[in-house]
């Protein structure tokens, strides 16, 4: 018998614990991506002197593997005197990588704001800060929530990369379990099944959100 139910049930609680680390990394990484992505998108609107270097940085981060960026942050930052534990370095890399994707999403949202909204804000003598905070962002962000949600799921599926710097998330835990018992079938298959289940559930949730937003923001 290739699949041992007894062993699978025995390791399930251990994997459940590791799943919490995976979810923590996902949520923290995405919180950073969502905020930093918006910063990138707004910086890109502030004229070519700021926009150009930001665009280059975004292009560099988007075009290179996340794994290399994780190694980079984990091994390079200590040389500048910033020593991070593996979890923090991993979350920062995930956040930075997905911030560049989120920046494109926000840009689409910002470009969809009619010019008149900007002109009206100038006519009302609102400061740039007030214009963004009270006029532009409340209109630009809700329509882009579903695509942001897709990136949340994508980021979630990239968290196993943190196992490369020995963060004890799902994949690393499964590998350790496998190397202890020489049985890889159950741990790795269970990790795959857990990812599939969580991805399908979150994809369904995003569709719900999309439908709810679609009702509110028909223009």
């Amino acid at each position: 018998m290739l699949w041992d139910w007894g062993y699978a049930l025995e390791i399930l609680p251990v994997l459940g614990q590791a799943a919490i680390i995976t979810i923590e990394a996902t949520l923290l990484g995405f919180a950073m991506a969502a905020v930093l992505g918006l910063v990138f998108a707004i910086l890109r609107m502030l004229g070519p002197a700021v926009a150009w270097p930001v665009s280059m940085l975004i292009e560099l981060v988007r075009s290179t593997p996340l794994l290399i960026q994780i190694f980079f942050l984990y091994f390079v930052l200590p040389k500048f005197g910033v020593t991070l534990d593996a979890f923090t370095a991993g979350v920062l890399a995930l956040g930075l990588h997905y911030a560049t994707y989120c920046a494109e999403v926000y840009r689409a949202g910002l470009e969809n704001i009619p010019r008149g909204q900007w002109e009206a804000s100038i006519a009302l003598n609102l400061s740039l800060y007030t214009t963004f905070k009270d006029i532009i962002l409340p209109q630009a962000i809700p329509p882009v929530v579903p695509p942001l949600g897709n990136y949340l799921v994508a980021l979630f599926k990239e968290t196993p990369l943190l196992s490369a710097i020995a963060v004890l998330e799902l994949m690393q835990t499964a590998k350790i379990l496998g190397s202890e018992t020489f049985r890889y079938v159950e741990p790795i298959t269970l990790v795959g099944a857990l990812f599939l289940a969580m991805s399908l559930v979150s994809a369904a949730l995003i569709r719900q959100v999309e439908r709810a937003l679609g009702r509110r923001f028909v223009r």
């Binding site: 290179t64 593997p65 960026q69 890889y184 795959g192 990812f195």
Partner: protein
């Protein structure tokens, strides 16, 4: 989205930077190993992309036009490979498959995983592109008494292909980035070489800067190639539509 000119400028700049750095001292010693690794990365990306297109087209056609069991199979394939992580898939094929008596070489596991993973995303692109061909094209083909196969081969797919090119370009970049994962199953690609040299020399900043630039150059080259193909393919279509 950046124009093709500025991408070409970035590509030239990153190549010049790599070439310039590789004449200097700490960098020079790393170059032979990194070039060897980059060649492995490129080979895996090429074979992986080829497999991804094959799996993507096959799965999309099976899902759209196959008999019912094949349709379910295609759907299950797409959901499973899109719903789980590429690294989990890679480890599954590498560590678990041997327990079922199937031992594949690491290179085979690598290109197969990347092909299957990216192919699942590609299947949705192919499906969307076929769906975007106007209904009238199907109706006209029916009126001309074509068989299903003839319609797809001569009328629908040639038009759908043009719409597929830009999203496939994005997927090829994703695939290139995902090739770094294969370093975790002992293949000495660019990421593996970087790790190996980092552990022996501790010249972390130098090595990883070079590696990032090399990956950037390969990505930009893919982007330019896909833009050129897109331009060539859509010119023919635009002429056809004008009349």
């Amino acid at each position: 989205m950046m124009g093709i000119r500025s991408i070409a400028v970035m590509l030239a700049a990153s190549l010049a930077l790599v070439a310039g750095l590789s004449t200097m001292e700490p960098f020079r010693t790393f170059m032979p190993g990194l070039i060897e690794g980059a060649w492995m990365t490129v080979r895996i990306a090429l074979v992986g992309s080829l497999l991804a297109v094959l799996f993507g087209v096959a799965a999309a056609l099976a899902r759209l036009y196959g008999p019912l069991p094949l349709r379910w199979l295609a759907r299950a394939y797409i959901e499973i490979f899109r719903g789980t992580s590429a690294l989990v898939q890679l480890f599954w094929l590498f560590f678990v498959l041997p327990d079922f008596g199937i031992s594949l070489a690491p290179f085979t596991v690598a290109v197969l995983t990347l092909g299957l993973n990216v192919g699942a995303y590609g299947a949705e692109i192919v499906r969307a592109a076929i769906g975007a061909v106007p209904r009238g094209q199907w109706e006209a083909s029916t009126a001309l008494n074509m068989t299903r196969g003839q319609m797809l081969r001569r009328i629908i797919l040639p038009q759908a292909v043009v719409a597929m090119i830009p999203p496939w370009g994005n997927l090829f970049i994703e695939l290139l980035k995902a090739t770094a994962l294969v370093s975790l199953i002992t293949i000495s690609d660019l990421a593996f070489k970087a790790q190996e040299m980092n552990q022996t020399t501790f010249k972390t900043i130098d090595i990883f800067t070079l590696v990032l630039l090399i990956y950037l150059a390969i990505s930009l080259a893919i982007t330019i190639g896909m833009r050129l193909i897109e331009g060539a393919a859509s010119r023919g279509l635009a002429r056809g539509r004008a009349h």
